[in-house]
Protein backbone atom coordinates (compact mmCIF):
# COMPACT_ATOMS: atom_id res chain seq x y z
CA UNK A 1 0.00 0.00 0.00
CA UNK A 2 1.48 3.35 -0.97
CA UNK A 3 0.03 6.54 0.40
CA UNK A 4 0.84 10.13 -0.38
CA UNK A 5 1.21 12.07 2.79
CA UNK A 6 2.18 15.16 4.71
CA UNK A 7 3.87 15.08 8.06
CA UNK A 8 0.64 15.43 10.05
CA UNK A 9 -1.03 12.66 8.11
CA UNK A 10 2.11 10.65 8.46
CA UNK A 11 1.83 10.88 12.19
CA UNK A 12 -1.80 9.92 12.21
CA UNK A 13 -1.12 7.01 9.92
CA UNK A 14 1.80 5.87 11.99
CA UNK A 15 -0.41 5.99 15.01
CA UNK A 16 -3.14 4.07 13.29
CA UNK A 17 -0.82 1.23 12.36
CA UNK A 18 1.16 1.43 15.52
CA UNK A 19 1.09 -1.36 18.01
CA UNK A 20 3.77 -1.84 20.58
CA UNK A 21 7.45 -1.93 19.79
CA UNK A 22 7.87 -5.60 20.41
CA UNK A 23 5.18 -6.41 17.96
CA UNK A 24 5.18 -4.24 14.86
CA UNK A 25 2.27 -5.21 12.62
CA UNK A 26 3.29 -3.03 9.73
CA UNK A 27 6.61 -1.55 8.88
CA UNK A 28 6.26 1.99 7.61
CA UNK A 29 8.95 3.14 5.22
CA UNK A 30 9.25 6.75 4.15
CA UNK A 31 10.21 6.94 0.48
CA UNK A 32 10.33 9.72 -2.06
CA UNK A 33 8.95 9.02 -5.46
CA UNK A 34 8.90 11.67 -8.23
CA UNK A 35 9.74 14.22 -5.61
CA UNK A 36 6.72 13.48 -3.47
CA UNK A 37 6.95 11.84 -0.06
CA UNK A 38 5.22 8.49 0.25
CA UNK A 39 4.67 6.11 3.07
CA UNK A 40 5.28 2.54 2.12
CA UNK A 41 3.46 0.13 4.39
CA UNK A 42 5.08 -3.28 4.33
CA UNK A 43 2.91 -6.18 5.40
CA UNK A 44 4.67 -8.73 7.58
CA UNK A 45 5.37 -12.08 5.93
CA UNK A 46 3.95 -13.97 8.89
CA UNK A 47 1.23 -12.59 11.07
CA UNK A 48 -0.75 -14.53 13.63
CA UNK A 49 -4.10 -13.28 14.81
CA UNK A 50 -5.28 -14.76 18.09
CA UNK A 51 -3.79 -18.10 17.11
CA UNK A 52 -4.92 -20.67 19.66
CA UNK A 53 -4.64 -24.44 19.93
CA UNK A 54 -6.25 -26.55 22.60
CA UNK A 55 -5.73 -30.27 23.12
CA UNK A 56 -8.65 -31.25 25.30
CA UNK A 57 -8.41 -29.10 28.39
CA UNK A 58 -4.80 -28.13 27.80
CA UNK A 59 -4.17 -24.88 25.97
CA UNK A 60 -0.96 -25.49 24.04
CA UNK A 61 -0.94 -22.12 22.28
CA UNK A 62 -2.80 -19.26 23.90
CA UNK A 63 -3.99 -16.37 21.74
CA UNK A 64 -0.74 -15.74 19.90
CA UNK A 65 -0.30 -12.40 18.14
CA UNK A 66 3.06 -11.96 16.50
CA UNK A 67 4.29 -10.63 13.22
CA UNK A 68 7.49 -11.36 11.39
CA UNK A 69 9.06 -9.21 8.72
CA UNK A 70 10.41 -10.50 5.46
CA UNK A 71 14.10 -11.40 5.69
CA UNK A 72 14.09 -11.64 9.45
CA UNK A 73 15.35 -14.56 11.53
CA UNK A 74 12.80 -15.00 14.23
CA UNK A 75 13.58 -17.28 17.15
CA UNK A 76 10.98 -18.82 19.39
CA UNK A 77 12.72 -19.73 22.62
CA UNK A 78 11.19 -21.81 25.33
CA UNK A 79 11.33 -25.08 27.25
CA UNK A 80 9.95 -28.35 25.90
CA UNK A 81 6.18 -28.35 25.92
CA UNK A 82 5.93 -24.57 25.71
CA UNK A 83 3.97 -24.81 22.47
CA UNK A 84 6.74 -24.09 19.96
CA UNK A 85 6.21 -27.12 17.75
CA UNK A 86 2.45 -26.65 17.85
CA UNK A 87 2.88 -23.11 16.55
CA UNK A 88 5.12 -24.28 13.70
CA UNK A 89 2.71 -27.07 12.81
CA UNK A 90 -0.17 -24.63 12.59
CA UNK A 91 1.82 -22.15 10.50
CA UNK A 92 2.88 -24.99 8.18
CA UNK A 93 -0.80 -26.08 7.85
CA UNK A 94 -0.23 -29.47 9.46
CA UNK A 95 -2.49 -28.69 12.38
CA UNK A 96 -5.71 -26.72 12.39
CA UNK A 97 -5.94 -23.99 14.99
CA UNK A 98 -8.75 -24.24 17.56
CA UNK A 99 -9.39 -20.55 16.98
CA UNK A 100 -7.66 -17.60 15.39
CA UNK A 101 -5.58 -17.75 12.25
CA UNK A 102 -2.34 -16.66 10.64
CA UNK A 103 -1.32 -15.10 7.38
CA UNK A 104 1.78 -16.63 5.84
CA UNK A 105 3.11 -14.97 2.73
CA UNK A 106 -0.26 -13.28 2.03
CA UNK A 107 -2.33 -16.45 2.42
CA UNK A 108 -4.56 -17.47 5.28
CA UNK A 109 -3.50 -20.81 6.76
CA UNK A 110 -7.13 -21.82 7.29
CA UNK A 111 -8.45 -20.79 3.89
CA UNK A 112 -5.60 -21.50 1.48
CA UNK A 113 -3.34 -24.10 3.07
CA UNK A 114 -2.25 -25.25 -0.40
CA UNK A 115 -0.92 -21.78 -1.27
CA UNK A 116 0.83 -21.52 2.07
CA UNK A 117 2.52 -24.87 1.51
CA UNK A 118 3.89 -23.75 -1.85
CA UNK A 119 5.84 -20.92 -0.29
CA UNK A 120 7.28 -22.54 2.80
CA UNK A 121 9.98 -25.04 3.62
CA UNK A 122 10.17 -26.86 6.91
CA UNK A 123 12.61 -28.97 8.84
CA UNK A 124 11.06 -31.06 11.58
CA UNK A 125 12.42 -31.92 14.95
CA UNK A 126 12.57 -35.60 14.04
CA UNK A 127 14.44 -36.80 10.96
CA UNK A 128 12.11 -37.08 8.00
CA UNK A 129 14.42 -38.26 5.24
CA UNK A 130 13.97 -41.70 3.84
CA UNK A 131 16.77 -43.90 5.16
CA UNK A 132 16.53 -46.36 2.31
CA UNK A 133 16.97 -43.69 -0.33
CA UNK A 134 20.17 -41.92 -1.25
CA UNK A 135 20.59 -38.24 -0.49
CA UNK A 136 20.07 -37.36 -4.12
CA UNK A 137 16.94 -39.52 -4.45
CA UNK A 138 15.42 -37.90 -1.39
CA UNK A 139 15.86 -34.45 -2.90
CA UNK A 140 14.77 -35.45 -6.38
CA UNK A 141 11.52 -37.01 -5.20
CA UNK A 142 10.60 -33.93 -3.18
CA UNK A 143 11.38 -31.73 -6.16
CA UNK A 144 8.86 -33.81 -8.11
CA UNK A 145 6.28 -33.41 -5.37
CA UNK A 146 6.72 -29.64 -5.53
CA UNK A 147 6.02 -29.88 -9.23
CA UNK A 148 9.37 -28.58 -10.48
CA UNK A 149 9.85 -29.05 -14.21
CA UNK A 150 12.03 -32.01 -15.16
CA UNK A 151 14.91 -30.01 -16.59
CA UNK A 152 15.20 -28.02 -13.37
CA UNK A 153 15.07 -30.89 -10.93
CA UNK A 154 18.60 -32.13 -11.49
CA UNK A 155 20.29 -28.74 -11.48
CA UNK A 156 18.43 -27.56 -8.39
CA UNK A 157 19.12 -30.81 -6.54
CA UNK A 158 22.82 -30.56 -7.29
CA UNK A 159 22.90 -26.92 -6.29
CA UNK A 160 21.12 -27.66 -2.99
CA UNK A 161 23.44 -30.57 -2.21
CA UNK A 162 26.45 -28.40 -2.90
CA UNK A 163 25.16 -25.70 -0.59
CA UNK A 164 25.11 -28.13 2.34
CA UNK A 165 28.36 -29.81 1.26
CA UNK A 166 26.88 -33.23 0.59
CA UNK A 167 27.83 -33.54 -3.07
CA UNK A 168 30.36 -36.29 -2.42
CA UNK A 169 27.94 -38.38 -0.39
CA UNK A 170 24.87 -37.81 -2.53
CA UNK A 171 24.71 -41.41 -3.79
CA UNK A 172 25.02 -43.02 -0.36
CA UNK A 173 21.94 -44.30 1.42
CA UNK A 174 20.79 -41.88 4.10
CA UNK A 175 21.02 -44.61 6.75
CA UNK A 176 24.80 -44.31 6.47
CA UNK A 177 24.68 -40.56 7.17
CA UNK A 178 25.57 -39.01 10.53
CA UNK A 179 23.01 -36.97 12.45
CA UNK A 180 24.50 -33.71 11.23
CA UNK A 181 24.53 -34.87 7.62
CA UNK A 182 20.87 -35.85 7.82
CA UNK A 183 19.99 -32.41 9.11
CA UNK A 184 21.95 -30.81 6.28
CA UNK A 185 20.22 -33.04 3.76
CA UNK A 186 16.89 -31.88 5.14
CA UNK A 187 17.94 -28.27 4.80
CA UNK A 188 18.83 -28.96 1.17
CA UNK A 189 15.50 -30.68 0.66
CA UNK A 190 13.52 -27.87 2.18
CA UNK A 191 15.20 -25.35 -0.13
CA UNK A 192 14.54 -27.18 -3.38
CA UNK A 193 11.46 -25.11 -4.27
CA UNK A 194 13.01 -21.83 -3.12
CA UNK A 195 10.57 -21.14 -0.29
CA UNK A 196 10.10 -17.63 1.02
CA UNK A 197 9.84 -18.77 4.60
CA UNK A 198 11.86 -21.55 6.18
CA UNK A 199 10.63 -23.13 9.41
CA UNK A 200 13.22 -24.85 11.55
CA UNK A 201 11.93 -26.81 14.51
CA UNK A 202 14.82 -27.31 16.93
CA UNK A 203 17.38 -27.49 14.12
CA UNK A 204 20.26 -28.68 16.30
CA UNK A 205 18.45 -30.95 18.73
CA UNK A 206 20.52 -34.06 19.31
CA UNK A 207 23.66 -32.78 17.58
CA UNK A 208 27.00 -32.65 19.35
CA UNK A 209 28.45 -29.20 20.09
CA UNK A 210 30.56 -29.18 16.93
CA UNK A 211 27.67 -30.28 14.76
CA UNK A 212 25.58 -27.58 16.35
CA UNK A 213 28.05 -24.85 15.56
CA UNK A 214 28.38 -26.08 11.97
CA UNK A 215 24.62 -26.00 11.65
CA UNK A 216 24.54 -22.41 12.88
CA UNK A 217 27.02 -21.49 10.18
CA UNK A 218 24.89 -23.14 7.51
CA UNK A 219 21.75 -21.40 8.65
CA UNK A 220 23.55 -18.07 8.96
CA UNK A 221 24.90 -18.39 5.42
CA UNK A 222 21.52 -19.35 4.04
CA UNK A 223 19.93 -16.26 5.44
CA UNK A 224 22.64 -14.11 3.96
CA UNK A 225 22.78 -15.76 0.56
CA UNK A 226 19.15 -16.51 -0.11
CA UNK A 227 17.61 -13.65 1.88
CA UNK A 228 15.02 -15.94 3.30
CA UNK A 229 12.77 -15.39 6.26
CA UNK A 230 13.54 -17.95 8.94
CA UNK A 231 11.25 -18.95 11.78
CA UNK A 232 13.10 -21.15 14.21
CA UNK A 233 12.31 -22.72 17.54
CA UNK A 234 14.89 -23.74 20.04
CA UNK A 235 15.42 -24.36 23.69
CA UNK A 236 19.09 -23.51 23.46
CA UNK A 237 19.85 -19.97 24.61
CA UNK A 238 23.08 -19.75 22.64
CA UNK A 239 21.28 -20.84 19.52
CA UNK A 240 18.68 -18.10 19.70
CA UNK A 241 21.42 -15.61 20.56
CA UNK A 242 23.64 -16.73 17.66
CA UNK A 243 20.96 -16.84 14.96
CA UNK A 244 17.91 -14.76 15.67
CA UNK A 245 17.45 -11.07 15.00
CA UNK A 246 14.40 -11.11 17.26
CA UNK A 247 13.50 -13.58 19.96
CA UNK A 248 10.14 -14.39 21.44
CA UNK A 249 10.36 -16.09 24.79
CA UNK A 250 7.49 -18.50 25.10
CA UNK A 251 6.28 -20.28 28.18
CA UNK A 252 3.11 -22.36 28.56
CA UNK A 253 1.74 -21.29 25.20
CA UNK A 254 2.18 -17.57 25.73
CA UNK A 255 4.83 -15.12 24.59
CA UNK A 256 6.36 -13.70 27.75
CA UNK A 257 8.54 -11.11 26.00
CA UNK A 258 9.66 -10.39 22.47
CA UNK A 259 12.61 -8.30 21.31
CA UNK A 260 16.11 -8.43 19.85
CA UNK A 261 18.62 -10.48 21.85
CA UNK A 262 20.50 -7.32 22.74
CA UNK A 263 17.42 -5.49 23.91
CA UNK A 264 16.27 -8.50 25.90
CA UNK A 265 19.53 -8.58 27.75
CA UNK A 266 19.26 -4.84 28.25
CA UNK A 267 15.83 -5.29 29.83
CA UNK A 268 17.57 -6.72 32.82
CA UNK A 269 19.50 -3.46 32.94
CA UNK A 270 23.05 -4.34 33.73
CA UNK A 271 25.25 -7.08 35.05
CA UNK A 272 24.48 -9.93 37.35
CA UNK A 273 26.00 -10.06 40.81
CA UNK A 274 25.46 -13.33 42.62
CA UNK A 275 26.02 -13.12 46.34
CA UNK A 276 26.24 -15.90 48.88
CA UNK A 277 25.56 -14.61 52.34
CA UNK A 278 23.83 -15.77 55.53
CA UNK A 279 21.76 -12.66 56.17
CA UNK A 280 21.05 -10.02 53.61
CA UNK A 281 18.79 -7.03 53.99
CA UNK A 282 17.11 -7.42 50.66
CA UNK A 283 14.59 -4.65 51.24
CA UNK A 284 17.33 -2.13 51.82
CA UNK A 285 19.24 -3.26 48.77
CA UNK A 286 16.13 -2.76 46.65
CA UNK A 287 16.14 0.90 47.58
CA UNK A 288 19.54 1.48 45.99
CA UNK A 289 19.18 3.51 42.81
CA UNK A 290 21.42 1.32 40.63
CA UNK A 291 19.81 -1.98 41.58
CA UNK A 292 17.31 -3.04 38.94
CA UNK A 293 16.28 -6.48 40.07
CA UNK A 294 16.74 -8.91 42.94
CA UNK A 295 15.83 -12.58 43.09
CA UNK A 296 16.54 -14.92 45.96
CA UNK A 297 17.11 -18.65 45.85
CA UNK A 298 17.93 -20.34 49.12
CA UNK A 299 21.26 -18.85 50.22
CA UNK A 300 22.01 -17.26 46.87
CA UNK A 301 20.89 -13.78 45.99
CA UNK A 302 21.00 -12.58 42.41
CA UNK A 303 21.22 -8.84 42.04
CA UNK A 304 21.23 -7.02 38.75
CA UNK A 305 22.98 -3.68 38.89
CA UNK A 306 23.73 -0.93 36.43
CA UNK A 307 27.25 0.18 35.75
CA UNK A 308 29.23 -2.43 37.64
CA UNK A 309 32.56 -0.62 37.62
CA UNK A 310 31.14 2.30 39.58
CA UNK A 311 28.60 0.66 41.81
CA UNK A 312 29.93 -2.75 42.79
CA UNK A 313 32.20 -1.36 45.49
CA UNK A 314 29.33 0.49 47.12
CA UNK A 315 26.99 -2.47 46.85
CA UNK A 316 29.44 -4.74 48.62
CA UNK A 317 30.15 -2.17 51.29
CA UNK A 318 26.52 -1.92 52.38
CA UNK A 319 26.07 -5.65 52.49
CA UNK A 320 27.99 -6.68 55.55
CA UNK A 321 29.50 -10.14 55.76
CA UNK A 322 29.31 -12.22 52.62
CA UNK A 323 30.70 -15.65 51.72
CA UNK A 324 31.26 -15.27 48.01
CA UNK A 325 30.52 -12.97 45.12
CA UNK A 326 30.36 -13.62 41.39
CA UNK A 327 29.92 -10.99 38.70
CA UNK A 328 29.09 -11.67 35.06
CA UNK A 329 27.21 -10.27 32.06
CA UNK A 330 23.53 -11.06 31.90
CA UNK A 331 22.60 -13.83 29.46
CA UNK A 332 19.39 -14.83 27.76
CA UNK A 333 19.10 -17.51 30.41
CA UNK A 334 18.72 -14.77 33.00
CA UNK A 335 16.12 -13.12 30.81
CA UNK A 336 14.22 -16.38 30.60
CA UNK A 337 14.41 -16.88 34.34
CA UNK A 338 13.24 -13.34 34.92
CA UNK A 339 10.18 -13.64 32.66
CA UNK A 340 9.05 -17.17 33.36
CA UNK A 341 10.25 -17.65 36.90
CA UNK A 342 12.11 -20.81 36.04
CA UNK A 343 15.24 -22.07 34.35
CA UNK A 344 15.01 -23.27 30.81
CA UNK A 345 15.58 -27.00 30.66
CA UNK A 346 18.95 -27.65 29.11
CA UNK A 347 20.30 -30.96 30.25
CA UNK A 348 18.94 -34.48 30.44
CA UNK A 349 17.32 -33.91 27.09
CA UNK A 350 17.17 -36.81 24.72
CA UNK A 351 17.18 -35.64 21.15
CA UNK A 352 16.05 -37.62 18.13
CA UNK A 353 19.56 -38.77 17.44
CA UNK A 354 19.83 -40.39 20.86
CA UNK A 355 16.40 -41.90 20.35
CA UNK A 356 17.50 -43.54 17.11
CA UNK A 357 20.63 -44.86 18.77
CA UNK A 358 18.49 -46.22 21.58
CA UNK A 359 16.04 -47.84 19.23
CA UNK A 360 18.73 -49.57 17.22
CA UNK A 361 20.28 -50.93 20.42
CA UNK A 362 16.88 -52.22 21.43
CA UNK A 363 16.49 -53.96 18.09
CA UNK A 364 19.93 -55.54 18.40
Amino acid sequence: MVTNTDSCFEQRLSKKFETNNENPKHKILKVRFLGAPFLLIVMPIIQTVGLTKKFGKITAVDNLNISIEEGEVFGLLGPNGAGKTTIIKMLATLLEPTSGTAIVNDFDINKRPDKVRESIGIIFQEPSSDELLTGYENIKLYAMMYGLPKDKIESRAKEALKLVELTERKDDLVKHYSGGMRRRLEIARSLIHRPKVLFLDEPTLGLDPRGRENMWNYIGNLVKELKMTVFLTTHYMEEADALASRIGIIDRGKIAVLDSPKALKRILGGDLVTIKAKSLKVDELKKLSYVTDITQEEDETKIIIENVSQNLQHLLSVMGKIESVEVRNTTLNDVFLRFTGREIQEEGESGWFDKIAQESTEKA
Partner: protein, 248 residues
Protein backbone atom coordinates in the same frame (compact mmCIF):
# COMPACT_ATOMS: atom_id res chain seq x y z
CA UNK B 1 -4.51 -34.80 -9.00
CA UNK B 2 -0.89 -34.16 -9.79
CA UNK B 3 0.76 -36.80 -11.97
CA UNK B 4 4.38 -35.94 -11.31
CA UNK B 5 3.63 -35.92 -7.57
CA UNK B 6 1.85 -39.28 -7.74
CA UNK B 7 4.83 -40.66 -9.61
CA UNK B 8 7.20 -39.34 -6.97
CA UNK B 9 5.26 -41.07 -4.19
CA UNK B 10 5.10 -44.29 -6.19
CA UNK B 11 8.80 -44.18 -7.05
CA UNK B 12 9.69 -43.70 -3.41
CA UNK B 13 7.68 -46.80 -2.49
CA UNK B 14 9.37 -48.85 -5.22
CA UNK B 15 12.89 -47.80 -4.30
CA UNK B 16 12.43 -48.46 -0.61
CA UNK B 17 10.59 -51.75 -1.12
CA UNK B 18 13.23 -53.31 -3.30
CA UNK B 19 15.93 -52.31 -0.84
CA UNK B 20 14.19 -54.08 2.02
CA UNK B 21 15.21 -57.66 1.38
CA UNK B 22 13.31 -59.32 4.27
CA UNK B 23 10.04 -57.89 2.98
CA UNK B 24 10.56 -59.43 -0.46
CA UNK B 25 11.66 -62.79 0.89
CA UNK B 26 8.64 -63.20 3.15
CA UNK B 27 6.33 -61.95 0.40
CA UNK B 28 7.50 -64.77 -1.89
CA UNK B 29 7.98 -67.59 0.60
CA UNK B 30 4.69 -67.18 2.50
CA UNK B 31 2.21 -68.10 -0.28
CA UNK B 32 4.35 -70.98 -1.56
CA UNK B 33 4.53 -72.36 1.96
CA UNK B 34 0.73 -72.24 2.21
CA UNK B 35 0.25 -73.95 -1.12
CA UNK B 36 2.73 -76.70 -0.30
CA UNK B 37 1.56 -77.50 3.22
CA UNK B 38 -2.15 -76.80 3.15
CA UNK B 39 -2.94 -77.40 -0.48
CA UNK B 40 -0.74 -80.40 -1.20
CA UNK B 41 -1.16 -81.87 2.29
CA UNK B 42 -4.97 -81.80 2.28
CA UNK B 43 -5.12 -82.24 -1.48
CA UNK B 44 -3.76 -85.76 -1.13
CA UNK B 45 -7.05 -86.84 0.42
CA UNK B 46 -9.66 -84.24 -0.58
CA UNK B 47 -11.01 -83.20 -3.91
CA UNK B 48 -13.87 -80.82 -4.67
CA UNK B 49 -16.12 -81.23 -7.68
CA UNK B 50 -13.53 -83.34 -9.42
CA UNK B 51 -10.79 -80.82 -8.87
CA UNK B 52 -7.65 -81.33 -6.81
CA UNK B 53 -7.78 -79.44 -3.50
CA UNK B 54 -4.52 -77.62 -4.20
CA UNK B 55 -6.00 -76.45 -7.50
CA UNK B 56 -9.24 -75.53 -5.75
CA UNK B 57 -7.58 -73.31 -3.12
CA UNK B 58 -5.14 -71.79 -5.62
CA UNK B 59 -7.47 -68.80 -6.17
CA UNK B 60 -7.87 -68.50 -2.40
CA UNK B 61 -4.10 -68.44 -1.83
CA UNK B 62 -3.73 -65.83 -4.56
CA UNK B 63 -6.34 -63.62 -2.88
CA UNK B 64 -4.83 -64.25 0.54
CA UNK B 65 -1.47 -63.02 -0.69
CA UNK B 66 -2.97 -59.86 -2.15
CA UNK B 67 -5.02 -59.38 1.01
CA UNK B 68 -2.06 -59.59 3.37
CA UNK B 69 0.32 -57.57 1.27
CA UNK B 70 -2.18 -54.81 0.41
CA UNK B 71 -3.69 -54.33 3.86
CA UNK B 72 -0.32 -54.37 5.60
CA UNK B 73 1.22 -52.15 2.97
CA UNK B 74 -1.53 -49.60 3.62
CA UNK B 75 -1.51 -49.91 7.37
CA UNK B 76 2.27 -49.46 7.32
CA UNK B 77 1.39 -45.79 6.91
CA UNK B 78 1.03 -45.52 10.65
CA UNK B 79 4.76 -46.16 10.92
CA UNK B 80 5.50 -43.43 8.35
CA UNK B 81 3.39 -41.12 10.42
CA UNK B 82 5.14 -41.92 13.66
CA UNK B 83 8.60 -41.28 12.30
CA UNK B 84 8.10 -37.93 10.62
CA UNK B 85 8.36 -39.28 7.06
CA UNK B 86 4.79 -38.58 6.10
CA UNK B 87 4.74 -35.08 7.59
CA UNK B 88 7.40 -33.98 5.14
CA UNK B 89 5.16 -35.15 2.31
CA UNK B 90 2.07 -33.54 3.80
CA UNK B 91 3.67 -30.07 3.84
CA UNK B 92 4.26 -30.21 0.10
CA UNK B 93 1.50 -28.68 -2.04
CA UNK B 94 0.45 -32.19 -3.17
CA UNK B 95 -3.21 -32.83 -2.45
CA UNK B 96 -4.12 -35.60 -0.06
CA UNK B 97 -5.86 -37.41 -2.92
CA UNK B 98 -2.64 -37.39 -4.97
CA UNK B 99 -0.60 -38.74 -2.07
CA UNK B 100 -3.26 -41.40 -1.57
CA UNK B 101 -3.25 -42.43 -5.22
CA UNK B 102 0.55 -42.65 -5.27
CA UNK B 103 0.39 -44.98 -2.28
CA UNK B 104 -2.37 -47.10 -3.83
CA UNK B 105 -0.28 -47.46 -7.00
CA UNK B 106 2.60 -48.67 -4.83
CA UNK B 107 0.40 -51.26 -3.14
CA UNK B 108 -0.96 -52.44 -6.48
CA UNK B 109 2.52 -52.85 -7.92
CA UNK B 110 3.66 -55.05 -5.04
CA UNK B 111 0.57 -57.18 -5.31
CA UNK B 112 1.06 -57.63 -9.05
CA UNK B 113 4.66 -58.75 -8.49
CA UNK B 114 3.61 -61.23 -5.83
CA UNK B 115 0.66 -62.48 -7.87
CA UNK B 116 2.97 -63.10 -10.82
CA UNK B 117 5.25 -65.27 -8.66
CA UNK B 118 2.31 -67.33 -7.39
CA UNK B 119 0.77 -67.66 -10.83
CA UNK B 120 4.07 -68.98 -12.13
CA UNK B 121 3.94 -71.58 -9.38
CA UNK B 122 0.50 -72.55 -10.69
CA UNK B 123 2.13 -74.31 -13.62
CA UNK B 124 3.62 -76.80 -11.13
CA UNK B 125 0.14 -77.83 -9.94
CA UNK B 126 -1.22 -78.14 -13.48
CA UNK B 127 -3.20 -74.90 -13.82
CA UNK B 128 -3.73 -74.16 -17.51
CA UNK B 129 -3.44 -70.55 -18.59
CA UNK B 130 -4.53 -68.88 -21.80
CA UNK B 131 -3.56 -65.38 -22.84
CA UNK B 132 -7.16 -64.34 -22.14
CA UNK B 133 -7.33 -65.91 -18.68
CA UNK B 134 -3.95 -64.55 -17.58
CA UNK B 135 -4.82 -60.98 -18.66
CA UNK B 136 -8.22 -61.16 -16.95
CA UNK B 137 -6.60 -62.55 -13.81
CA UNK B 138 -4.06 -59.71 -13.76
CA UNK B 139 -6.77 -57.07 -14.25
CA UNK B 140 -8.73 -58.59 -11.36
CA UNK B 141 -5.59 -58.62 -9.21
CA UNK B 142 -5.01 -54.91 -9.95
CA UNK B 143 -8.57 -53.90 -9.07
CA UNK B 144 -8.72 -56.06 -5.95
CA UNK B 145 -5.30 -54.84 -4.77
CA UNK B 146 -6.34 -51.20 -5.28
CA UNK B 147 -9.44 -51.71 -3.13
CA UNK B 148 -7.60 -53.61 -0.40
CA UNK B 149 -4.69 -51.14 -0.30
CA UNK B 150 -7.25 -48.36 0.08
CA UNK B 151 -8.76 -50.22 3.05
CA UNK B 152 -5.28 -50.64 4.54
CA UNK B 153 -4.45 -46.95 4.06
CA UNK B 154 -7.74 -45.95 5.67
CA UNK B 155 -6.90 -48.15 8.66
CA UNK B 156 -3.36 -46.73 8.77
CA UNK B 157 -4.65 -43.17 8.71
CA UNK B 158 -7.05 -43.83 11.59
CA UNK B 159 -4.59 -45.73 13.78
CA UNK B 160 -2.56 -43.73 16.24
CA UNK B 161 0.22 -46.19 17.02
CA UNK B 162 1.78 -49.28 15.43
CA UNK B 163 0.80 -51.29 18.52
CA UNK B 164 -2.59 -51.97 16.94
CA UNK B 165 -1.05 -54.03 14.15
CA UNK B 166 -1.96 -57.40 15.70
CA UNK B 167 -5.58 -56.32 15.85
CA UNK B 168 -5.68 -55.80 12.09
CA UNK B 169 -4.82 -59.46 11.54
CA UNK B 170 -7.39 -60.62 14.06
CA UNK B 171 -10.27 -58.35 13.16
CA UNK B 172 -9.76 -57.52 9.48
CA UNK B 173 -7.61 -60.00 7.63
CA UNK B 174 -8.67 -63.29 9.20
CA UNK B 175 -12.45 -62.70 9.03
CA UNK B 176 -12.18 -61.45 5.45
CA UNK B 177 -10.06 -64.43 4.47
CA UNK B 178 -11.84 -67.28 6.24
CA UNK B 179 -15.29 -66.05 5.26
CA UNK B 180 -14.47 -65.69 1.57
CA UNK B 181 -14.78 -69.23 0.31
CA UNK B 182 -11.04 -69.26 -0.27
CA UNK B 183 -10.61 -72.62 1.47
CA UNK B 184 -14.02 -74.30 1.14
CA UNK B 185 -16.96 -74.31 -1.28
CA UNK B 186 -19.99 -72.15 -0.47
CA UNK B 187 -22.58 -74.89 -1.00
CA UNK B 188 -24.13 -76.50 2.09
CA UNK B 189 -22.77 -73.92 4.59
CA UNK B 190 -24.81 -73.30 7.75
CA UNK B 191 -27.05 -70.21 7.21
CA UNK B 192 -25.09 -67.79 9.47
CA UNK B 193 -21.88 -68.57 7.56
CA UNK B 194 -23.67 -68.12 4.23
CA UNK B 195 -24.87 -64.65 5.26
CA UNK B 196 -21.40 -63.58 6.40
CA UNK B 197 -19.77 -64.97 3.29
CA UNK B 198 -22.21 -63.31 0.91
CA UNK B 199 -21.66 -59.98 2.67
CA UNK B 200 -17.89 -60.23 2.18
CA UNK B 201 -16.64 -58.55 -1.01
CA UNK B 202 -13.61 -60.81 -1.01
CA UNK B 203 -15.90 -63.78 -1.74
CA UNK B 204 -16.66 -62.40 -5.19
CA UNK B 205 -13.00 -61.71 -5.93
CA UNK B 206 -12.12 -65.30 -5.02
CA UNK B 207 -15.02 -66.60 -7.11
CA UNK B 208 -14.01 -64.50 -10.10
CA UNK B 209 -10.41 -65.65 -9.94
CA UNK B 210 -11.40 -69.28 -9.42
CA UNK B 211 -13.59 -69.18 -12.52
CA UNK B 212 -10.63 -67.85 -14.51
CA UNK B 213 -8.16 -70.33 -13.02
CA UNK B 214 -10.03 -73.62 -12.86
CA UNK B 215 -13.44 -72.85 -14.38
CA UNK B 216 -15.45 -73.21 -11.16
CA UNK B 217 -17.84 -70.49 -9.99
CA UNK B 218 -20.68 -70.00 -7.52
CA UNK B 219 -21.99 -66.56 -8.52
CA UNK B 220 -22.48 -65.28 -12.04
CA UNK B 221 -19.54 -63.54 -13.70
CA UNK B 222 -21.53 -60.31 -13.91
CA UNK B 223 -22.19 -60.35 -10.16
CA UNK B 224 -18.52 -61.00 -9.46
CA UNK B 225 -17.28 -58.24 -11.78
CA UNK B 226 -19.79 -55.62 -10.58
CA UNK B 227 -19.11 -56.27 -6.90
CA UNK B 228 -15.32 -56.40 -7.33
CA UNK B 229 -15.27 -53.06 -9.16
CA UNK B 230 -17.75 -51.41 -6.79
CA UNK B 231 -15.74 -52.59 -3.80
CA UNK B 232 -12.54 -51.04 -5.19
CA UNK B 233 -14.31 -47.78 -6.06
CA UNK B 234 -16.02 -47.42 -2.68
CA UNK B 235 -12.85 -48.35 -0.77
CA UNK B 236 -10.86 -45.76 -2.74
CA UNK B 237 -13.41 -43.05 -2.04
CA UNK B 238 -13.56 -43.85 1.66
CA UNK B 239 -9.75 -44.02 1.75
CA UNK B 240 -9.41 -40.55 0.25
CA UNK B 241 -11.92 -39.21 2.77
CA UNK B 242 -9.98 -40.80 5.63
CA UNK B 243 -6.76 -39.36 4.22
CA UNK B 244 -8.22 -35.89 4.10
CA UNK B 245 -9.21 -36.10 7.74
CA UNK B 246 -5.90 -37.55 8.87
CA UNK B 247 -3.92 -35.48 11.34
CA UNK B 248 -0.24 -35.22 10.75
Amino acid sequence: MNLSGIRAIWQREMLTFFREKPRIVSAVINPIFWLLTFGVGLGATVDIEGINYEQYIFAGILVQTILFSSIFYGAYLVWDRRIDLLKAVLVTPLSRASIFMGKVLGGVTFSVVEAAIILAFGVVINIHYTLYSISMIMITVVIAAAGLTAVGLAIGSLMTSPEGFQLITTFVIFPLFFLSGALFPLENLPPYLTVLTIANPLTYIVDLLRSLLVGLQYFSTLENVVITISFAAIATLLGILAFRRMRA
